[in-house]
Amino acid sequence: MKTEMKKVYLDNMATTPVLPDVRRAMLPFLTESFGNPSCLHEWGDVPRDAMEAARRQVADLIGGNPEEIIFTGSGTESNNMAIKGLAMAQQKKGKHVVVSAIEHFSVLNSAKTLEKWGFEYTTVPVDKNGVVNPEDVRKAIRSDTILVSIMQANGEIGTIEPIKEIAKITKEKDILFHTDAVAATGNIPVNVKDLGVDALSLAANMFYGPKGVGALWLKKGTRIMPLLDGGIQEGGRRAGTENVAGIAGMGKAAELARVEMKVRMENLIKIRDYLIKELPLKVSHVIVTGHPQNRLPGHASFCVEFIEGESMLMLLNAKGVGVTSGSACTSRALQASHVLLALGLPHEIAQGSLLFGLGTDNTKEDIDYVLEVLPPIVERLRQMSPLYSKFLKQEKGE
């Protein structure tokens, strides 16, 4: 008889599942309440009301005002809109932007696009834990700097950045400050007033909402150039018929995240710390990447030396465990992760990257299962690794 294999999803940084309550909140807009919220008849009323309710729920999650929320199609779109849109709207003041070395590609590549449009940008480094030093941001700011964008938390290494301290500097210099809080929002307390930022990106599928919907919080009175030309949806800042079902789902997910955050965090931190402590005891030559404590609650990331991430990932998958790696082989661009390299890790160590994104469904038993199946996988791959045999020979020789 075939027994069901245990399945453990540990890739919540790629996407979280959609909670049943969230799905329920979405369904009416895929069925009877199909109307376009821009329409003035009764078919438009229900979706319009739902969108406005969601706007409030999302605003409440981050301590903003509903009218400051612009719904978008993803965290990537929010970041594109913030970087390009804010820079373009400010270009009379100057044409220089500051970002960190470990930003998401949607921020880094937007900065590169700005460069093609005649702007310049400076990249601020991080320390070995992936932390930006606010003083480095100060040093990078020039007289023509108009925008600083530093992420609140990094999805690959989990590190949380000192956004408040950086905001003090940008305020002092009177420069706009955007933070990519896609990985952070819904998972740790995020309050735009407390942080002191001018713009903040978030995405629903990082906190148990649907994929394909995000938001940009933009402080009242901040000018931005829209990415899309069209109708006057979202106050003229984001044209296009709205993803009403997605937005309703995002609203529900935001409400649940706000109410349940404390409990979720406590549970996640417990099993995260357990994994971070136990894995290096079970497998030799493992490096924890990112900040050891000041990191996202469900985030545990490692580099396993002498072997490559994709092969680990696939053998874990064969055991029913879903994780991610930042190795060059797993990336479609076949490049080592810019985040891991920014920590100062050499290429061959970055190749052994393994990333666990724990979620509300996970239990200590799940972690125990990983701790049981991973060591033999590592051992097996090391037995066939030329790097490992070289290492063993070197050790013997000394």
């Binding site: 002498f306 072997i307 490559e308 994709e310 092969s311 696939m314 053998l315 064969a318 190795s327 060059a328 082989c329 797993t330 479609r332 076949l334 490049q335 080592a336 290429h347 061959e348 190749q351 037995q383 066939m384 690794s385 030329p386 790097l387 490992y388 045999s389």
Partner: protein, 131 residues
């Protein structure tokens, strides 16, 4: 659909001929310039035939499957036949690889050929062993 064929998965999960050969007649080590991975092939030659082929691989699932397939294809072949193993033939034998992984198949044939070259050089230098 999984990104790899069943054959790739089979060779990846049960790689054939893994290991090193002590006092190998030829060793070929190549690095993958694209992603930075590594493959080392070891060969034992008798009467101009590859009597034994082993390897070690640091790389992705495709790279591991490729090295396993190359070792199977090469074993028992004459040196001339083995030199004719191409990345394309390896990809075909594996029922295909995703395009982004084609560069991994170069690695296998290259490492095997490097091991054969290494053997030939040793032969020239020493000349004592009858190949």
């Amino acid at each position: 659909m999984p990104i790899y064929s069943e054959k790739v998965m089979d060779h990846f999960t049960n790689p054939r001929n893994v290991g090193e050969i002590e006092n190998a007649d030829g060793i070929g080590e190549v690095g993958n310039p694209v992603c930075g991975d590594m493959m080392t092939f070891y060969i034992k030659v008798k009467n101009n035939r590859l009597e034994d082929v082993k390897y070690k691989t640091f790389g992705c699932g495709a790279a591991i499957a490729v090295s396993s397939m190359v070792s199977e294809l090469a074993k028992g072949k004459t040196l001339e036949e083995a030199m004719k193993i191409t990345p394309e033939s390896v990809v075909n034998e594996l029922d295909g690889l995703p395009t982004v992984k084609h560069h991994c198949s170069n690695l296998g044939a290259q490492a095997l050929h490097a091991a054969i070259e290494n053997y030939k050089e040793k032969q020239k230098a020493g000349g004592q062993k009858n190949g």
